[in-house]
């Protein structure tokens, strides 16, 4: 289903060359906002990435370094390439933003545990990404759209700081026009053009009613957002094991060795970055 197991995938090549990136060609660069661009990357020799929604890759710009970046495209739309949405915020991402189509970058991965989409079948899905948190969730959302018959209601609550910082605006519009998706947007601060809800993402929860027993909630965003979103989700009686979070950490190796992403005894790069809330609830330093 998600990965064609007979195909050569980077996922299965990784074992013997742990730190050696594969050269990927940038085939497309699209600016989303002042800070975010989407890069379409193509692996050599028709290799597919073989990822699951929620996984990440390490992207290299030689001479600058390597950074962990979530995969933004759905495996169901791979076509021999994949997308990463990159915010210009550090050295590597700054260097990436200067690259044009045809440039080469190094790729390692995919790493980590993605979303257990098999477990979501027949359920209502409530997505609550904030800001750049939409980037990893977009992979899952599009996978769900492409397998739409397997799921119940699909609700997307998305918030950004300002209208100009909303990511994937064209796609948000398309999603909003579909009758089989419920999409609610909000911004912390509106502007003259903004006609929608103003307020942090938690202000959207009052507009929806859900069946807690049958709902899977999926959230990703800045650390500060999680506590408040969790309060809303738990307030709606969604069980802790049905709330999935994708955690940000500074993964240097991606393979459970370098120690940077460790949360207590858990390596986020291996056991995460996607966790059900009940698995990290007892971990100090998780959120």
């Amino acid at each position: 289903m998600i990965t064609n197991r007979t195909q050569t995938t980077l996922a299965r090549q990784a074992e013997d060359k742990l730190f050696i990136p594969v050269p990927a060609r940038i085939t497309k660069v699209e600016s989303l906002t002042a800070l975010e661009k989407v890069f379409t990357l193509e692996l050599p020799d028709g290799i597919s990435l073989g990822h699951r929604p929620g996984q990440f890759v390490e992207v290299s710009v030689y001479g600058i370094g390597e950074a962990p970046i979530s995969i933004s495209s759905s495996p169901s739309r791979s076509n021999g390439s994949f997308e990463v949405c990159v915010r210009k915020v550090g050295d590597v991402t700054g260097a990436l933003h200067k690259l044009e189509p045809e440039a080469r970058v190094g790729v390692r991965g995919p790493f980590g545990r993605g979303f257990p989409i098999e477990k979501f079948r027949g359920k209502d899905l409530l997505f609550a990404p904030g800001g750049l948190g939409l980037a990893p969730l977009r992979s899952l959302i599009n996978q769900v759209i492409d397998e739409r018959a397997h799921f119940g209601r699909v609700i997307i609550l998305y918030g950004a700081r300002t209208p100009s910082e909303l990511l994937f605006k064209d796609e948000l519009k398309q999603w909003g026009e579909r009758i089989d998706l419920e999409v609610l947007l909000t911004v912390d601060r509106g502007d003259d053009t903004w006609k929608g809800n103003v307020g942090v993402i938690t202000t959207l929860f009052r507009f929806i009613s859900i069946h807690p027993r049958n709902t899977i909630a999926i959230t990703c965003g800045p650390p500060v957002m999680y506590r408040f979103v969790l309060m809303e989700l738990l307030g709606k009686n969604i069980s802790e094991g049905n709330i999935y979070l994708s955690l940000e950490r500074r993964m240097k190796c991606g393979v459970g060795k370098c120690g940077h992403c460790q949360i207590n005894n858990v390596y986020a790069c291996q056991s995460g970055p996607v966790f059900p809330y009940n698995e990290i609830k007892g971990l100090e330093e998780a959120l």
Partner: protein
């Protein structure tokens, strides 16, 4: 395995024969102390050394190593680094031997780290039995690392005029081709047994509880007030992790030549005690206080690493205790947590 005897006076010749074949490393006197270094003259070797500032880990997981070289001219290309020389590490204490077994496990399980395992395969280890404590900071007996049954190619025990040599591997057996040796006599074996059994009382237990209780003690101590006290004292200098034989966390960085085309990706030792270690690029630090970072360090040593790898993350060598400028020591920390638990019955 079988027991062999080498005369002490033959050791010099043994090392001399190894020099052209291997990079021979071992403890030697350096600047008034002792350090593992490349041995150029067999006379330098000091198997009777007490301890070293850095453990022999540096030959297996170097402070800095090249993962690959890149060339950004043209379409860009990368190539693997040069291989390491075949190496013999002489004079490894059993605490460090236990630490190396942990490193072997970390880098050879899950996804195999060939940068480590290739180097490890090229390395022979000749360990020595410790007969007296290094100093009053070592607590190997408490940690169960005062002896070792495996992890070495050859293991030497000083019997006065001779070394009793336990052969741990076939590679170790082959190494003995380069020296005069003889089969141990029944007398040698009696003497070895006596030396081994007499050594134990010389080493004190320094923990106030049995080591098997350490993981559960730490589990109960997540919220101990001790972490805040350590945070107040800790200078976040990372000396403790830099000298630790079991610390294996690393950073990965690119270095570029002045031509801005050629360079290498390097991995280097890193430390969970440094402010930026768990900081993500937007600036959020997931362990933002020294208190949380010290707690993380001790939890790793006594609990997390054990849970992940089935080896304790502390071998009782005492190096971090010697290196710490503000006297934060594993013995002090573990005993204080134990005292808090006994006194409080709750913390």
């Amino acid at each position: 395995m079988s027991l062999t005897i080498i005369n002490k006076q033959d050791l010099t010749n043994f090392v001399k024969h190894l020099l052209p074949l291997y990079r021979v490393t071992g403890p030697a006197e350096v600047n008034g102390g002792f350090a593992f270094k490349t041995i150029e003259d067999p006379g330098e070797l000091r198997l009777d050394y007490p301890t070293t500032i850095l453990p022999p880990k540096k030959y297996l997981l170097p402070p800095k190593e090249t993962l690959f070289e890149f060339d950004n001219s043209g379409n860009g290309s990368i190539k693997p680094p040069r291989g390491d020389p075949r190496t013999v590490i002489l004079g490894v204490h059993t605490c460090d031997l236990h630490a190396i077994q942990l490193l072997d496990h970390v880098f050879s399980t899950g996804q195999v780290d060939a940068s480590y395992t290739n180097r490890r395969r090229q390395t022979l280890i000749v360990s020595v039995e410790c007969l007296t404590p290094c100093d009053d900071q070592s607590f190997c007996k408490s940690m169960g690392t005062l002896s070792a049954d495996e992890g070495y190619d050859l293991h030497l025990t000083d019997l006065g005029d001779v070394y009793a040599v336990d052969i741990g591997t076939e590679a170790g057996q082959n190494l003995l081709q380069h020296t005069q040796s003889s089969q141990a006599s029944p007398d040698d074996i009696l003497k070895l047994n006596a030396v081994l059994s007499e050594k134990w009382p010389r080493f004190p237990y320094r923990l106030d509880f049995d080591i098997s209780d350490l993981p559960s003690l730490l589990s109960m101590s997540m919220k101990s007030s001790l972490w805040d006290e350590l945070g107040e004292r800790c200078l976040a200098c990372a000396a403790c992790t830099n000298v630790c034989p079991t610390c294996f966390c690393f950073d990965v960085k690119d270095e570029i030549e002045l031509d801005l085309k050629h360079g290498q990706r390097v991995r280097s030792w890193d430390s969970c005690q440094l402010d930026e270690f768990a900081t993500v690029v937007g600036g959020h630090n997931f362990r933002k206080s020294r208190s949380l970072r010290q707690r993380h360090r001790f939890m790793r040593k006594g609990k997390y690493i054990l849970e992940a790898h089935n080896y304790l993350g502390c071998v009782g060598c005492g190096r971090c205790a010697r290196a710490c400028l503000v006297d934060i020591t594993p013995v002090g920390v573990f005993n204080e947590l134990y005292r808090q638990k006994e006194v409080g019955g709750k913390s």
